[in-house]
């Protein structure tokens, strides 16, 4: 076989001679490749956003809420019963082997005041474990301690939104704010988490010790009552085991017979979000597949043009054969020509696709991510298209009889 470089020069010349035809053929590939890139970018952007949200609520998370209560035939909503206690939370922490951290929650909302500023926000009474459960760090100050919880100390951790609204640019650490007129000392500021999946501001919150919330802010119907318990499993694989362990332990602790309905519900938040992620991934694939169809059509365009080219250049093929071109010399020449068309089209398509994705993000505001994988994939795919659709014309050309090809008019 003759050298690829020489063949490439022949191919480029042949394509250059028919500039209009070559660029129109390339256009098919350009549209196909840029469509694939943009579709994958939109899909990847969406699933990346969901992944971010999964990590913002904390990973491997279970939430235990009380079951619904029935009063005089009227069923109340989930969580209306008061059946969970801090002791339940402690027992889960102690006895469930697949659980790493537990945070009992007693929350509500309240008006908070600092100086002449005031703000209404959600108050979460909980234990120090909450930061680990939510995969949340502090940007300033310290976490509360078990001591704070035992003594029902009046300390609090502020979310960024609360800091912005009460303090502006001032340093809040060590300041005293009033929650329902009770003074609390600010000991830390939470890392920003942004919006939740449903658009709720996760930074608009204040964390205080559980006992303080129970005794001084919201009160309880019975001592030790909590509204929910957040449970973090040791790993993603442990999540379902942890769910079962929590379920079994709570049934046992609440003395439920085998026929009795649970008086609590264990929700697997991570699983819900993962399902959403799976759905977006399927969507991405689907979009990519639809876009691939246009790439396929572009490939057929290449085949069409190459077939025309073979017919037009029958004489050239005859001359080359007469002076010693072998079967594969001819084949490689036409395959390289098809490949050049599709790869140049592919590169231009990638550039347009990346640019289009950026424009889409900027103008429509969709999150798009052009991953190196999608670039590699569409480049490789356009190369394959070139080889696949170039092969038949090349094969046809190589089988010509030299003398017939020479005589062709």
């Amino acid at each position: 076989m003759i050298s690829i470089l020489s063949t490439l020069r022949i191919a480029l010349r042949a394509l250059w001679v028919n500039k209009m035809r070559s660029s129109l053929t390339m256009l098919g590939i350009i549209i196909g490749v840029s469509a694939v890139i943009i579709m994958l970018a939109v899909g990847t952007g969406a699933s990346q956003k969901i992944s971010e949200q999964i990590s913002s609520i904390g990973s491997n998370l279970l939430i235990v809420v009380p079951g619904s209560s029935t009063q005089g035939g009227i069923r109340m909503g989930g969580g209306s019963q008061s059946t969970l206690t801090k002791d339940d939370a402690d027992a889960i922490q102690k006895e469930c082997s697949s659980v790493s951290v537990v945070a009992p929650m007693h929350n509500g909302s309240a008006q908070v005041v600092y100086g002449n500023q005031n703000w209404s926000t959600s108050i979460q009474g909980t234990t120090p474990g909450i930061l680990e459960v939510k995969d949340c760090g502090l940007t300033a100050g310290r976490n509360m301690t078990d001591q704070d919880v035992r003594n029902a100390n009046k300390v609090c951790l502020l979310g960024q939104t609360v800091v912005d609204n009460l303090f502006g640019s001032m340093d809040p650490i060590g300041q005293i704010i009033r929650i329902k007129k009770i003074p609390f000392m600010v000991i830390g500021v939470l890392e920003s988490k942004g919006q939740s999946l449903v658009g709720q501001d996760q930074d608009d919150t204040i964390i205080i010790p559980l006992t303080t919330a129970q005794k001084k802010i919201f009160g309880t119907t019975f001592p030790g009552m909590v509204r929910s318990i957040m449970v973090k499993a040791k790993s993603a694989e442990d999540l379902t085991i942890a769910e079962r362990q929590v379920n079994d332990l709570l049934r046992q602790r609440h003395r439920m017979g085998p026929t009795k309905e649970d008086d609590f519900t264990v929700r697997n938040l991570t699983q819900m979000l993962q399902m959403a992620e799976t759905a977006t991934n399927i969507m991405t694939l689907l979009l990519g597949a639809i876009a691939s169809v246009s790439l396929l059509v572009g490939g057929i365009g290449i085949m069409n043009i190459m077939l025309v080219s073979v017919t037009e250049r029958t004489r050239e093929i005859g001359i080359r054969m007469a002076v010693g071109a072998k079967t594969w010399d001819i084949r490689v020449q036409f395959i390289i020509e098809a490949l050049t068309l599709s790869l140049i089209g592919g590169i231009v398509g990638i550039i347009i696709g990346a640019g289009g994705s950026a424009i889409l993000s900027a103008v429509v505001g969709w999150p798009t991510v052009v991953s190196p994988l999608s670039i590699l994939l569409s480049f490789g795919f356009s190369g394959l298209v070139g080889i696949f659709f170039g092969f038949y014309p090349a094969y046809k050309a190589s089988l010509l009889n030299p003398i017939d090809a020479l005589r062709f008019e």
Partner: protein, 230 residues
């Protein structure tokens, strides 16, 4: 040993109801360094004969030995290799690649003989120079006269140092003066480099430049004699 030896070569074309017997029973020997003209009217089988001994076409029956090798059993690629290394072609219609410079046209056989680019260029320029085409190396065929185009084609046929040059009506598209120039070039080539030349023509004037004339009629050799130069 003869360079070219055919035994009872026959070619039958399967066209129409009856088919055409283009060649029948052709047994010819051509030695190294000969200058042979193959003559005949159109349809006499002379071109078919040249295509077969030029390894461009296959006989229906009979044997063809080139340099002692039986061509009959060879594959397409083996034939391509023989055409590349042993035979140079010159055609009536020149058969140069359009939109390709003279030097690049001459390079093509070297390309398929895996000669490095630099060497290809050197040899091609040299071949063009030998044929008096200095200064025209980068002209495209449509910028050259018929005689110049035919010289480029001859340069292409010679560049790979093939021992045989086959010319099918090389002067068919040229005026008398240019025809004589081209023929004198071939005579000189045959004399100086001992290249075996096989010329197909229907013009006695052109055939007269050769040393031996083989006459074809209806696919058969009817005469084969030396040219007596006066």
């Amino acid at each position: 040993m003869a360079l070219i030896e055919t035994q009872k070569l026959a070619k039958f074309y399967d066209v129409g109801e009856e088919g055409v017997q283009a060649l029948a029973d052709v047994s010819v020997k051509i030695d190294h360094g000969e200058f042979v003209a193959i003559m005949g009217h159109s349809g006499s089988g002379k071109s078919t004969f040249m295509n077969i001994i030029g390894c461009l076409d296959q006989p229906t029956s009979g044997q063809y030995l080139l340099d002692g090798t039986n061509i009959g059993g060879l594959s397409r690629d083996e034939l391509a290799k023989i055409r590349n290394q042993k035979i140079g072609f010159v055609f009536q219609g020149f058969n140069l690649l359009s939109r390709t410079s003279a030097v690049e046209n001459v390079e093509i056989p070297l390309l398929y003989n895996h000669i490095p680019a630099k060497e290809r260029k050197r040899r091609s320029l040299l071949a063009l120079k030998t044929l008096g085409l200095e200064g025209r190396e980068y002209h495209h065929p449509n910028q050259l006269s018929g005689g110049q185009q035919q010289r480029v084609a001859i340069a292409r046929a010679l560049v790979n140092e093939a021992p045989i040059l086959m010319a099918d009506e090389p002067t068919g598209n040229l005026d008398t003066k240019t025809s004589i120039e081209i023929m004198e070039l071939l005579v000189q080539l045959n004399r100086d480099t001992h290249t075996t030349i096989i010329l197909v023509t229907h013009e006695p004037d052109i055939a007269a430049f050769s040393k031996r004339i083989i006459q074809f009629t209806d696919g058969r050799v009817i005469s084969d004699k030396e040219v007596i130069k006066s």
